[in-house]
């Protein structure tokens, strides 16, 4: 068989393999989670206390921890990203625009673990000194670093939308006497809402799915934090901790439940993105 004939088969095989892998993951997850529903283990998991040696396997604090860190990171990163994207697309002169974009691309390529250990030596001591409370491993620390991690994702997705809009509207608006700030405020931002939403949802997905930053920086205490300086634990970190330590098999219930919740959140995000994508082109 020559290359041209082989190609469709190779592509089909690749597509099948991907689909099979994704389907396989889903099936295993369902298989693992099923006992939770049949044996009533679900009730013990949907609870507020994680005291495994006393038979309490609640993962709700981790759900809260995940949401707090992810939403907090979004709240920090989104305004920053809007600023960076608008600056890069509209205000920055050519050379500076190039440098900024290169920097943002570079940020996407930094491994998470680097963010983590640099922060341990840089941010954690600072937080400890400034606030003089706790160990420095806290909700706030993890949130700040996580917002750095998702910043380039949001910037790049948003900037792609802005670039398209800017191409069609820039000259028109210049001819109408709009100043550049007015152009950003009244034309670009209202028109890029959908792109911004897509960027934010994508960033949220990254934030929820990230494991290392919260594992290394959030302190991992399985409780609902009372202040930003308290330690907390995310679902992902929880899974990593339980699986990585010599835990008893009963602990695994909570891992499966955490996995299922994460999976459902991700599916939801995909659905939202698809909806946005479907109605995106005018």
């Amino acid at each position: 068989m020559d290359g041209a004939k082989l190609m469709p088969h190779l592509l089909r095989a690749a597509a099948l393999a991907c689909t099979a892998a994704a389907g396989g993951i889903l099936l295993v997850l369902i298989y693992l989670v099923l006992p939770l529903f049949t044996s009533g283990g679900w009730g013990s998991v949907i609870a507020w206390q994680w005291l495994p040696f006393q038979g309490r396997f609640g993962i709700l604090p981790m759900v809260v921890g995940t949401l707090l860190i992810a939403l907090g990171a979004l709240a920090v990163a989104t305004p920053l990203a809007v600023g960076v994207a608008c600056f890069v697309q509209v205000l920055a002169p050519g050379r500076i625009k190039g440098i900024c974009l290169a920097l943002v691309h570079y940020m996407t390529s930094i491994p998470t673990v680097i963010y983590g250990f640099v922060s341990i030596f840089l941010l954690v001591p600072l937080i400890r000194q400034w606030f003089d409370r706790g160990t420095g491993f806290s909700l706030a620390t993890a949130t700040i670093v996580l917002s750095l991690l998702i910043l380039p994702t949001i910037v790049l997705v948003l900037q792609a939308t802005l670039r398209e809009l800017d191409r069609s509207a820039r000259v028109t608006c210049a001819a109408l006497g709009f100043s550049r700030p007015a152009y950003i405020r009244h034309v670009l931002l209202p028109l890029c809402r959908r792109g911004l939403l897509a960027a934010v949802v994508l960033g949220f997905g990254r934030a929820v799915g990230d494991t290392l930053i919260s594992l290394m920086l959030a302190g991992n205490a399985p409780m609902v934090p009372a202040s930003p300086l308290d330690a907390t634990r995310t679902l992902t970190a929880h899974i990593a901790l339980v699986v990585a330590t010599d835990s008893q098999s009963t602990f695994y219930h909570s891992v499966f439940a955490a996995g299922l919740i994460l999976f459902l959140v991700m599916v939801l995000i995909q659905l939202i993105l698809r909806r946005l994508g479907g109605t995106f082109t005018p």
Binding site: G94, S168, A169, R170, V171, T172, C173, A174, A175, L176, G177, F178, S179, A182, H186, V187, P190, L191, P282
Partner: protein
């Protein structure tokens, strides 16, 4: 009486204008005066620099990279001469006074109403009540009001090409400019829409001096008071109204340069 007898002063003076993009000469030593009440048309094959000439008047060439402009462009606003390229000339204000209609209709992807209202609100800082009045007057001036008055809040992109172009004209007229720049404003329209818009220009030129460009000799004959022929960025011929109306003469000129 003294004033009446004086030769009228031009509204716009272009002197020795040269424009280069990334080192490539696009316009070379172009001169032109535009007087009140007249419609001057630059005609030339595509790529001859017509759009660049118009954009030189509202400094829109600067919105594109690697542009270099030389020469002088002056405009008379409220009996005062402004050097358009002087650093002290406020650019946004200048562009408000020089209305431009583009080769392709370019409504923003907002509603019909917002397309006209937004520049009024933002660039002129008008209040909502004044804005509403102005929008209506502008849409009436381009004979679009009766067609859109029941769907002002529909997207402007739902309008036909001819309607969109009239909307863009209304958007410019609402700002009450001192002069109009028209860049092949009927290039993307069908026959009927073209005649409709041309009729509008006939009446508009009483109120605004108009600098228009076209590559269509028929349109030139119907509209122009004076013609300047552009070729490769140079002004190679000029025609007055009697010469335009003389079919022999204008045919000779057209054949020489097209």
């Amino acid at each position: 009486m003294e004033r009446m007898k004086r030769i009228p002063e031009p509204m716009l003076e272009i002197a020795d204008l040269s424009v280069r993009f990334a080192g490539k000469q696009v316009l070379e030593s172009v001169n032109l005066d535009l007087y009140p009440g007249e419609l001057v048309m630059a005609i030339g094959p595509s790529g001859s620099g017509k759009t660049t000439l118009l954009r030189a008047v509202n400094r829109l060439n600067e919105a594109y990279p690697h542009c270099n402009t030389r020469g002088q462009v002056r405009i008379r606003l409220a009996d005062r001469w402004w050097d358009i390229y002087a650093p002290s000339t406020p650019l946004a204000e200048l562009r408000l006074r020089v209305g431009m209609v583009f080769q392709h209709p370019n409504p923003l992807p907002f509603s019909i109403y917002k397309n006209v209202a937004l520049p009024l609100r933002i660039s002129l800082g008008m209040n909502p009540k004044e804005t509403l009045l102005r929008v209506q007057r502008a849409l009436e001036a381009v004979q679009l009001w009766s067609e859109v008055k029941d769907r002002l809040h529909d997207s402007a992109l739902t309008l036909s090409g001819g309607q969109q172009q009239r909307l863009c004209l209304a958007r410019v007229l609402a700002l009450e400019p001192a002069l109009l720049l028209l860049d092949e404003p009927t290039a993307s329209l069908d026959f009927k829409a073209t005649r409709h818009i041309e009729a509008l220009f006939q009446t508009l030129k009483q109120r605004y001096p108009i600098l228009a460009v076209t590559h269509n000799p028929g349109q030139m004959r119907r509209l122009a008071d004076r013609v300047m022929v552009l070729q490769d960025g140079r002004c190679v011929a000029a025609m007055s109204r009697p010469e335009i109306e003389d079919p022999e003469h204008s045919r000779r000129v057209m054949e020489a340069f097209f």
